[in-house]
Symmetry: C2
């Protein structure tokens, strides 16, 4: 191996990582503490840093170094880094700069038009901008190239290696059983009472409570923090500095508690990445889908489990005594696991959530594939919602205008949310085999066995394995819908009194 | 004028400003919210951004552009920007990069050794590192060049245009009357009772109170915020985003209240700089001394005045009723204006403060001038403290090891603190002439007349005028010690019952 070329390449990557992590902090600040008039200067700072990063990533010197390292190597760190840097470099250099700049400009306008369109529930306001973004993203896909479907080139940015065909196969087999299950739930004899979660939960108490929950599952506050933002997120500069945000609603218990567990799940992954490889692919997350599997695993498979609340409900009742004194563990557990068809993705339960994603995936796949026109989106959306979720939006604000993603030109992102749920189920099923008493540990508030398992099996590898390889290695089989469907029926059929 | 050259130069400056303001935000975060393990990555990010900024400032293309613009110009904005950019470029390019890097390396070690030395009150631990920094700073001064004294080249970085001779002249005439006044106070019949300020002031109440005080004097919270840090500071990305910090002590009223008024004074200057010229000299503060005049003016000339507390003491008493119910306005006003010789600069009152600065100035001037050896510092310090302030430190931790500045190689910075007091007195005396009812306005909580006066006379000019010109234009005379001495005797002689 050409050691000089490799160390030169890595020091370039570290520099790019320092710039990108500075941007991440500026972004975090913009969402948490920045005074409102700071926006214009912040936008300039971020644009400059994005340009400095992009210039460095597409520098032809990087291409030359990669060429000097383009031979088999028996050091897995080197092999991983060269492979992934090459992937990024190739993608970045294939897209003409003029196209990148055009997308940035159009997105700014499109985002504003989307906000206005959503406020007035008027799709036509957004339509021409969305059409332009679809066209530009098609040009991006064509520039990058693809084997079979144009959408492959876009989804590959977020979930490297997966194909449209593979997602279609998974989602279309998932759809019918989930829709049926949701229907069965709506006919079931037992019903939860979600109103108990809409009593008064003082925000100052929620802050202490959420911080404690994050600490309990293993989030390290010496290497991270929790703040407040309108849209919760997890942003990491490095494993040593991971920023979570959450949102506190006085009249809704779930928002902050499960939001915090979700973001802390992302945060545990970031904190578990190998620090020695910070700012290089060997030290970075595999994909958005794998990232989402970590958040979903802690939020739902752990945080909405019965043993978890057998352990923490007494504390929770004491903390929020005004709201919960008269609520039994059974009623509380049922309420936090309420399943019901709803219009808004971000408010959906863990079962119907995937159906919301399938609606979006099918639409954007067909848009990019040229099989659906932008003007046909509202009707396609409403039809699919009625068929899959069993509920039809009465206006576009509650329908196809609800999400920000498309207004930023983000096509290919949505599927990773549902893939995350599938990965999570498959990982968690395996963890229960590898750690026979896992649910007992959770019932005692002992999360170290599970966290250590995730560290060893997933976190520490960074991008060594692609998502599909990782799933195969961890669980012994390819990604499948069965673990998720098993989880759903094992958990919810008895809860709702459904004969399975 | 060569318009192309000018707009090219300005766009380069704006890029440097964006990088520097991103650094300022990363620094602010490091002092306020960063988790402790984030330090190593933060240091890397800041080092990279400092390098990117320095590379751009010293790019020979900047020199070429300046050369193309080096002719008289009747546009004051262009004239100011070209003059000041040239000054920065010239200073920056005269100092060899190897020397800059060496100072950065030595400072890191020196700062650690200073911390250890201060903890153990053991000057010898710090001595070799300090000696090296003095030597390196002498090399910097020699590289930059100077007319008469080597120290001129260093102080010029912080207070452009001032000379060692001028500071010596001002400080040596200030010293005797101030020392005499402090002595007279210590013999005076009236004594304040500062213990009333050391009762219990609940921190959550202080936070609300300080925020209100900052808002009252005109700090715009849409373009700034207040947070908590160990060492209070004001850091500005731009007039639209100014970050203040303060420190709350439950058992000491002054710390947060006067600290906030001080930092808000800096903040009002930053918010008042012309936004159209952000990131260029025409939109930046004149000097550290002028900056300090703004903080001191609001902290002391306004915030420790009798009319201010006639207006706000009733509110203050209500807010902190447990501590202040039995304290009269007279006793409170006397307590916040207590003068007494003390060892620690940052805890000193507004009169003795200047004597602390004179001690430091004389020592560093003589160090850089080669008239004092590093080993002689402790004795020189203790002697000067005894003579000037009237109190002799019993150890070096409370003496020459108390300040961080020298450990960072910051020689020439200290005088700007006392210059700030002199500028403030001269500006405030003039403001009272220009606004005859100024103290009545303050007594009614109406600060707009004073703030507007500062905006028009000082803030809006950015670096158009050098400090000496600005003082001349605003007050009609050169900087002098009389306004400060008049202020001191007018305010404190009656308070302490001293015959003037």
């Amino acid at each position: 191996m050409d050691n000089d070329a490799y160390s030169n390449l890595i020091s370039r990557l570290r520099e790019i990582g320092q710039i990108d992590s500075a941007s991440a902090l500026l972004d975090w600040d913009a969402e948490t503490y920045m005074p409102k008039n700071g926006l214009a200067v912040r936008a300039e700072q971020l644009a400059l840093l994005a340009r400095l990063s992009h210039e460095r990533m597409t520098d032809s010197a990087v291409g030359d170094l990669i060429a000097r390292l383009d031979e088999p190597c028996d050091d897995e760190v080197v092999e991983t880094n060269v492979r992934e840097i090459k992937r990024h470099y190739t993608r970045a250099t294939k897209i003409p700069t003029s196209l990148v700049e055009r997308i940035a400009r159009v997105s700014t306008v499109a985002k504003e038009s989307w906000q206005k369109a959503r406020e007035n529930s008027h799709f036509e306001t957004f339509k021409p901008h969305l059409a332009e973004l679809v066209d530009l993203r098609c040009q991006v896909a064509d520039a990058i190239g693809y084997a079979t479907e144009r959408y492959d080139a876009l989804v590959d940015e977020f979930e490297p290696g997966i194909t449209t065909a593979e997602i279609t196969r998974l989602f279309s087999s998932l759809q019918a059983p989930l829709s049926e299950f949701v229907h069965a739930v709506s006919e079931a004899p037992s019903k939860p009472d979600p109103s108990i979660l809409q009593r008064k939960f003082p925000i100052e108490t929620q802050k202490l409570w959420c911080r404690q929950m994050a600490a309990e599952i293993g989030f390290n506050f010496d290497s991270g923090r929790i703040d407040v933002s309108t849209h919760p997120f997890c942003s990491g500069s490095a494993p040593s500095d991971v920023r979570l945000t959450t949102r506190y609603l006085e009249k809704f218990f779930n928002s902050a508690t499960f939001g915090t567990l979700h973001e802390a799940g992302h945060g545990l992954y970031e904190q578990g990445l190998p620090e020695a490889h910070v700012f290089t692919p060997r030290g970075q997350a595999v994909s958005l889908g794998i990232h989402e599997s970590q958040s979903r695993l802690w939020e739902n498979f752990v945080g909405r489990s019965r043993p978890f609340w057998e352990r923490y409900y007494p504390q929770c009742q004491l903390a929020f005594s005004d709201a919960l004194t008269d609520v039994s563990l059974d009623d509380f557990y049922f309420a936090i696991n309420a399943i019901s068809p709803s219009l808004i993705r971000v408010e959906a339960d863990e079962v119907t959530y995937n159906l919301h994603i399938i609606v979006r995936f099918e639409i954007e796949r067909d848009l990019i594939g040229g099989k659906l026109a932008v003007g046909e989106i509202p009707e396609a959306w409403n039809e699919k919602m009625a068929t899959l979720v069993g509920i039809r939006p009465e206006n576009d604000a509650d329908g196809c205008l609800q999400d920000i993603h498309w207004s930023m030109g983000g096509f290919g992102y949505f599927p990773t949310y549902a893939l995350g749920n599938l990965y999570a189920a498959q990982f968690f099923a395996r963890a229960r085999k590898d750690i026979p008493n896992l649910m007992d540990f959770i019932g005692r508030g002992e999360f170290a066995p599970l966290l250590e398992w995730l560290r060893v099996k997933i976190h520490q590898h960074g991008q060594h394995y692609r998502a599909s390889e990782l799933v195969q290695r961890v669980s012994g089989r390819a990604l499948s819908i069965e673990p998720f469907l098993d989880y759903v029926s094992d958990k919810f059929a008895p809860l709702y009194g459904i004969d399975d």
